[in-house]
Subunit: 172 residues, 2 copies
Amino acid sequence: MSKKEALLKAAENKVRLGGYSNFSFRELACEVGIKSASVHYHFPTKADLGAELAHQYTDSFLAALGEPSELKASGKNPIDVYTQLFRRALVTDKKMCLCGLLGAESDSLPDKVRLEVKRFFNQNLTWLSAAHLTNGEPNPAQAAIQTVSLLEGAMMISKTLDDNSYFELATQ
Amino acid sequence: MSKKEALLKAAENKVRLGGYSNFSFRELACEVGIKSASVHYHFPTKADLGAELAHQYTDSFLAALGEPSELKASGKNPIDVYTQLFRRALVTDKKMCLCGLLGAESDSLPDKVRLEVKRFFNQNLTWLSAAHLTNGEPNPAQAAIQTVSLLEGAMMISKTLDDNSYFELATQ
DNA sequence: GTAAAATTATCGACCAGTAGGTAGTTATTT
DNA sequence: AAATAACTACCTACTGGTCGATAATTTTAC
């Protein structure tokens, strides 16, 4: 793993626990074994780092999902696959969804970071609409926003109350 | 309004836009017209201020709801009343739910603040369970966590995408 | 084939600004 | 006299960011 990748990974862990202001260049640098000045070589500003982090997070999230039509074709319910990805983030990583947390503090984010968080939700809503459509839902757009809202909310409350059974109950 | 009340009000605005780290004693002091050192007279530490803020937020939130049984008795659906309170926070205040934002960054909060955020959700779940029970829901506890999850999630996404129609679609 | 030039990735030293917090003082009110 | 509510002045720690320097590597030119 390159230093740049290591920096992004370290930043992801911090942001998913406490938001955009929960990481500093010094901390990240220390964790990957370089000096804080060197972080600016890879990311000119903190906003650049945050934006690239959210962009990559979105890409790998969507990539992990696959295509709704293909999931359906192989006998899976794409909504279950989507739910599973959130469950994994909560249970395995024991952390919030990166863009869920950043979205909540959206108003105080640098423009280029906020833009990437918007991109995450737009792409998720598109994916979910397609998924609900293949499921024969009468109103796919409505089902899509309800699905992602429920999951983000359940995740946040389970984290807050430190009890994953709330997530299970909400998604059951 | 006393200085102390004004400080809490100013802090609430800041936190609801960008989380716990989005306010400083200096900013608050400046906004209410005192010096930052004087803020420590009212709140010894930042954690004390944050905890009292979350505590009062919870109390006034619950007070604004009223009792589920009384709402039902006066011909209202308590879940609609609950939804309206969230809608007002989003549409009128144009801000996140204080405890929704703090809950997301729960892991990085001082203990006494996190405790107050937990109290918010525990009290909300109790209220919602009672409300769903009076509505004759077969599983009030499940309906309760689903209601609050959907609302917190829809609120966050509507804020992120800067479009309240997502909230309307999700709650419709 | 090699010398010169450019690129990559790092460093130490430093900057102005801000953070939360403390000590001791002063004025006002009870 | 005592409690309340503010002040000035200061502290240490940390923030994101900039500067010029330095090796090591890679590319280009002759």
